[in-house]
Amino acid sequence: MPILVNDRPVFVPDDARVSLLDLLRDRLELFGTKKGCNQGACGACTVLLDGERVLSCLTLAAQCEGRAVVTVEGLAADGALHPLQQAFIDHDGFQCGYCTPGQICSAIGMAAEAARGMPSVVTADLEATDILLDRDELRERMSGNLCRCGAHNGIIDAIGEVFRGPESAGGAPR
């Protein structure tokens, strides 16, 4: 069975060692997904696998057979930007842009986790079904995505605006 990458069927490579990340970059030339460490430490390679965020460098392509992968290139219909992509521009949530696709895919997966009621280490009420993604929740849940340029404030503001509404974003750049 093929892998669905951004709705396009793709055959699983013969070499069982090929990671989802290298499938995307080296075989499919989908370079939007970035390689920062290839060992699960930076989050730059984050994509959505059946809607959940995964580190594609730690995911074998073979594990994705019959499943749906969405990369940064597949977030929005032709030409348009996903609201989160636009919010990253508005809040200057990046500098070099290398961690950015991973941050964006990760945030989309993160919001879905929170919507399912999945608590984080800073969630006060573990039973709560309605988790408010305040600044600390966002910072904690996004801490697997490194940014060396230091765009953290803008990233959290952008995610806050899209997944919590603009009034609570706070700390916007002057």
Partner: protein, 765 residues
């Protein structure tokens, strides 16, 4: 008059004066695109993942490279067995010192105008080994998986030679470097040691900072191929023309036979500001294979082949009168270096320009070690030098029972304390005032360890930030004015996240009197006019000066083209300005002709102007520095010793700010790297083997989202009358002073002085 003089002269007139800096840039104070918070021009590409980085350039017949690294620090390869690697599936060739193309050693940075070598050691030319982790073989294969598997099959045995691997031992044989970035390693005014001994109040302290890694999220990478004896190199670099010149020199080919492209760089911070061995190895392997090669360093490879910041041991001694004024200022110390590079981490530079003192003694030494060459990393010198100096000042203030900001007020000099030059523009005290008010500095408890919420001890700290203004020589720009009145401005400059294209489009728009939408800024390719290194916070000024020179040439040409049928007839270039999409007489608002009209009448499709920037002579006449005040609030757990930064504010005096949105991001980025320097970052170097022990982002700890509080950034907005555009550069100052602000806040919270970075919990328990 030479052509260059003509250009310089013309540039002088349009920017005010032939002598750089003598007359303020006429764009200062002129309303326009500069100062607007425009979103990044390349933003949509970056958020879509459509910005192409060096490892993402497709090529037909591409081979993937992997590197095998030495396991000893010094000696020679006794036996190298590559047969298993060569036989592994998919492998095309293995390159080692026996079959690598013969190359000259790289010219070391600063030894020639365009030299960019991080070290002058030969690269894979013989069996000698100079550091633990040096490349011993490069494998080329059809896929990355095949290349990496085969690289693991390379077998090497070594004859080890004695190596200097322990900084403590190496320090005992330290030496003065020939120069510290052009300055003398020892500077003495008066007898500072005696003045210290006689001072009624004094501190005499030792500070240590560890090795740091740039840890850009994009690993160093190149895609390289040869075409008819010419090299095309897609690189991740901050120094396009330096890489081009140095590679051409090594391969023995003309400079114009090398083209380097680098339109997007995934973070640099100085780590991509040199020619390292991987670029050379990729080019050499591509030559050997006769096919395109991609060498995307693994994260470990980055730590093995691209150096970082060196460790420092610094002494700061301050002798003061009872009123705080300094009788003696001493800042000395030692860093690790190699005999093959020249990066002495100029940690005494802040003390050369910040404070008034009767006697001054500054001294920098280096200890030679057998290690990968160290290099510049964001504010080399100033980042770690301000840690020592600004912590010492905090300790002195406490001894004097003075507020630390008040102490700095009493030390403010009239002129540069060591050069004697007039400051071009200095508003350090204004930074402290702005910052203190916004941050609520008055809430700081003067007695340490007195504010507490449960287990959390709360403290505030402050420190001075500083970084020099720099403008690099050798840059050139081209302006192409089209028939429709739009302009394309080009220069081989760099974008690592600073927002170069955005800010420079704004600046060029104002220079040419065009709306910003009508200006395109091209960069990132050595086929454009020569750029200068994106380092030393110099790129903005370096580009601006070259564009101003090109604009002056353009104006001269336009006046010629305009001829006698134009309202401009009879005007000289010193009587006009570029405004409202054309050229106009300075004093007469009605005398004006639009660019499109001039070109159309002359039957021209375009007009091209090329010019070089004048040499940065302003640096010789004035003391030009940026300043800032860093304010930090920490919460320190009394139970675990964990330090959390809860609030931070930076107030900066960097001249004119071209784009507040991107500038704020750059300041924050520097501050956040400073938080890492203060609290978590250390490249661990094994003194027995010389091997870096934590070559991964899991073990080298950069700040993550949870470590970063909301950071407020403000600035004085005082244009520098001596700098092009009135702007002094902002890329590095953000990291300076942060280590000290955090350490001083930790002291205020806990009563503990930590003088060894990073401030990890074990040091507080």
């Amino acid at each position: 008059m030479s052509l260059l003089d003509t250009v310089r002269d013309a540039a002088g007139r349009l920017t005010g004066h032939p002598e750089p800096g003598a007359v303020p840039d006429p764009l200062i104070g002129k309303p326009g695109a500069i100062g607007r918070s425009l979103p990044r021009i390349d933003g949509p590409r970056k958020v879509r993942g459509a910005a192409r980085f060096a490892a993402e350039v497709p090529a037909d017949g591409l081979l993937y490279a992997a590197v095998a690294y030495s396991a000893i620090a010094r000696g020679r390869i006794a036996f190298l067995d590559t047969t298993a690697a060569e036989r592994a599936p998919g492998v095309v060739l293995v390159m080692d010192h026996r079959n690598a193309p013969r190359l000259k050693p790289p010219a070391l940075f600063m030894t020639k105008p365009q030299a960019a070598g991080a070290s002058d050691l030969p690269i894979m030319q013989d069996d000698s080994i100079h550091w633990n982790g040096e490349a011993v073989a490069v494998v080329l294969a059809h896929t990355q998986e095949q290349a990496e598997h085969a690289a693991a099959l390379v077998r090497a045995t070594y004859e080890e030679a004695p190596a200097t691997l322990d900084f403590e031992a190496a320090k005992r044989r330290s030496r003065h470097p020939d120069s510290v970035m052009g300055e003398k390693p020892v500077l003495e005014q008066g007898d500072a040691e005696r003045a210290l001994a006689d001072a009624p109040v004094s501190v005499d302290l030792i500070f240590r900072t560890p090795r740091h890694s740039h840890a850009a999220i994009e690993p160093h990478a190149v895609t390289a191929w040869w075409e008819d004896g010419a090299l095309v190199l897609h690189d991740a670099t901050q120094v396009l023309n330096g890489v081009r010149w140095t590679l051409a020199d090594m391969f023995g080919i003309a400079e114009d036979r090398v083209r380097v492209l680098s339109p997007f760089v995934g973070g640099g911070f100085g780590g991509k500001g040199s020619l390292w061995s991987h670029q050379v190895l990729a080019a050499a392997a591509a030559k050997l294979a006769g096919r395109p090669v991609r060498l995307n360093l693994s994260r470990e490879g980055v730590f093995r082949l691209a150096g970082g910041r060196t460790p420092t041991e610094q002494r700061v001694a301050l002798g003061a009168r009872e009123d705080g004024t300094l009788l003696s200022l001493i800042h000395t110390g030692c860093v690790a270096m190699t005999p093959h590079n020249n990066c002495p981490e100029q940690f005494t530079f802040p003390a050369r320009h910040l404070y008034r003192a009767d006697a001054i003694r500054l001294e920098q030494s280096v200890a030679d070690m057998d290690m990968l060459a160290n290099t510049f990393m964001r504010a080399p010198g100033e980042s770690v030098g301000t840690f020592a100096l600004e912590c010492a000042l905090d300790e002195l203030a406490e001894k004097l029972s003075l507020d630390p900001i008040e102490l700095r007020r009493r030390l403010e000099p009239e002129r540069d304390p060591t050069s004697g030059h007039e400051f071009s523009s200095r508003h350090l005290l204004r930074c402290f005032e702005m910052g203190a008010e916004r941050f609520g500095w008055h809430r700081r408890a003067p007695t340490p360890g007195t504010r507490r919420e449960g287990e959390w001890q709360i403290g505030l700290g402050v420190a001075t930030a500083t970084y020099p203004y720099q403008r690099m020589p050798g840059g050139a720009a081209r302006i192409v004015l089209n028939r429709d009145g739009r302009a394309v401005v080009s220069m081989a400059s760099h974008e690592m996240g600073m927002g170069t294209a955005t800010a420079q489009s704004q600046a060029a728009a104002d220079r040419l009197g065009l709306p910003v939408e009508d200006v395109t800024f091209e960069y990132g390719d050595t086929s454009l006019p020569a750029g200068t290194i994106a380092g030393g916070s110099s790129q903005t000024a370096s580009i601006a000066a070259a564009v101003a020179a090109a604009a002056a040439v353009l104006a001269t040409e336009l006046l010629k083209l305009a001829g006698n049928d134009s309202p401009l007839a009879g005007l000289g270039v010193d009587e006009v300005e570029m405004r409202d999409g054309g050229i106009g007489a300075r004093e007469q608002p009605d005398r004006h002709e639009r660019y499109d009209s001039i070109l159309r009448r002359a039957g021209r499709d375009e007009l091209v102007a090329d010019a070089k920037a004048p040499p940065p002579r302003e640096l010789k006449r004035w003391s030009m520095h940026s300043f800032g005040a860093q304010f930090c609030e920490v919460r320190v757990s009394a139970v675990t010793g964990e330090v959390r930064v809860s609030r931070f504010l930076g107030a900066f005096d960097c001249g004119r700010i071209l784009n507040p949105r991107t500038a704020a991001s750059q300041f924050r980025g520097g501050i956040i790297m400073g938080l890492g320097l203060a609290l978590t970052e250390e490249t661990q170097f094994d003194p027995r083997s010389g091997r870096i022990m934590n070559p991964s982002l899991a073990e080298y700890h950069v700040p993550v989202h949870m470590d970063v509080p909301p950071i407020e950034v403000v600035w004085t907005e005082q244009p520098d009358p001596r700098a092009p555009l009135g702007a002094r550069g902002i890329g590095e100052i953000g990291i300076t002073g942060v280590g000290a602000a955090v350490a001083n806040a930790v002291y205020n919270a806990t009563g503990r002085r930590i003088r060894d970075l990073p401030i990890t919990p074990d040091k507080l328990l």
